[in-house]
């Protein structure tokens, strides 16, 4: 076991990745139980990162490569050929499959297609995440204003989501710039281990827009670039959501 003095002498070298793997293990073993060295190492790593902080122009296609690998990891296949996400627009290319997989189910990241579809869930997060419940009242007020403004926006489109028995369960307003908001909901509250999940159907494939929580109230999202969903669907999924619908559509409406 490395002593404190030995380890502290090498912290700067470790921050520069200038030790071999055996030394690294020994130093890290000491650091793990020495808050002083941990703090010193964190600080020196900030210095090292500052040295490497120049910004290069990003290569064309790099984001697509990353996104494609995420997609392949989840789906074991190559996504469609166009990815537009948050202002990034690149052609995708086939890449090797990822070796490691995130073990949890996936909510909103259907990379290529999700790109075309969405995802700003500022309001729904309030209902999906208890940590921000205290913000609900403020969100409610601002959300109502946003929805009212959306309803008055020229070119807005209303989408009525109905059950198979043609009962209207929810209404969304979609704006020409891609934003969408829940106007009203008659969907019954679910148990806390379930959530409503909103899907945009693109070329017949449901793409997760995001979670609506167990008692939908305010939901907002943005469709960023790419094809517009032909319809909006809602399913009931386990809390945390799923990558693909696992239950029948409870409400659907042509967009």
């Amino acid at each position: 076991m490395m002593t404190h003095e030995e380890a502290s002498e090498l912290l700067a070298a470790l921050a520069l990745d200038a030790v071999d793997s055996a030394e690294r293990e020994q130093i890290e073993a000491h650091v793990a139980q020495c808050p002083r060295c941990q703090s010193e190492l964190d600080s020196l790593r900030e210095v090292a990162s500052a040295m490497g902080n120049s910004v290069a122009a990003l290569p064309e296609g790099l984001w697509s490569s990353i996104s494609t690998r995420i997609y392949e990891d989840q789906n074991g296949e190559t996504p469609p050929s166009e990815l537009i996400l948050g202002g990034l627009s690149e052609s995708t290319r086939s890449l090797r499959a990822m070796s490691s997989r995130r073990a949890r189910t996936l909510v909103s990241s259907f990379s290529a297609l999700a790109a075309a579809a969405i995802v700003v869930l500022a309001f729904s997060l309030a209902s999906a995440n208890g940590h921000v419940s205290r913000l609900n009242s403020a969100l409610n007020r601002s959300a109502n204003n946003v929805v009212q403004a959306a309803l008055l926006t020229p070119g807005r489109k209303l989408v009525n989501l109905k059950s198979s028995a043609q009962v209207e369960l929810a209404q969304f307003v979609l704006l020409p710039d891609g934003r969408g908001y829940l106007v009203k909901s008659n969907m019954p509250a679910l148990s806390s281990n379930e959530t409503y999940q909103l899907w945009g159907v693109i070329n017949g494939t449901p793409i997760s827009i995001g979670l609506m929580g167990d008692s939908p109230n305010q939901v907002g999202f943005t469709v960023s670039g790419g094809p517009t969903p032909s319809s909006l669907d809602v399913t009931v999924e386990p809390a945390g959501g799923t990558q693909m619908p696992t239950s029948p559509v409870v409400a659907s409406g042509a967009a």
Partner: protein, 190 residues
Amino acid sequence: MQEFSEASDAQLVTSIGRYSEVALAEVYRRHGGAVYGLARRVLNNATEAEDVTQEVFLRLWNQPDRYDPVRGSLRSFLLAQSHARAVDAIRSLNSRRVRETNEAVKTARAEYDMQHEVWDLTVTHHVAQALGELPEEERRAIELAYFEGHTYVQVAQILNQPEGTVKSRIRNGMQRMRSVLVEAGVQEVE
């Protein structure tokens, strides 16, 4: 309505934990250029730098909980990952590749906002100044280690100096740089 472009880095990482690829895209937009730039500088190879950048962001996607905002900035965390992977790539080769001509690192053009670009440039300026003010032997040891991926033992061999001396020079130089950066206001006081 909060847009991801306005979210803090810590909020973005939380959203990545909820499988928001849009949040990952925003982190990439903010920090991808730095991650790629550092890997490219260390590796002097664009293709390998792209591989490193991919690995860094896929790791963030797969293990967002490895980032602890209490221990430092997300930029620093990602750069540390990028550097470690780039160095691993260098050391895994039996012999050093013929390196591409090292293109000058360009200033921020990662579609990030002007405020952060200015900050990046400010940090870059102060770091260059801090490095320049170091005694030559300390600066050389740090540069060989950090930008060329050598261990301090290898640096000692290159400089024909005792290992203990190089170890001390790296340590003293890093501490001196930290003081300069803290004084310049681009690094927090620990």
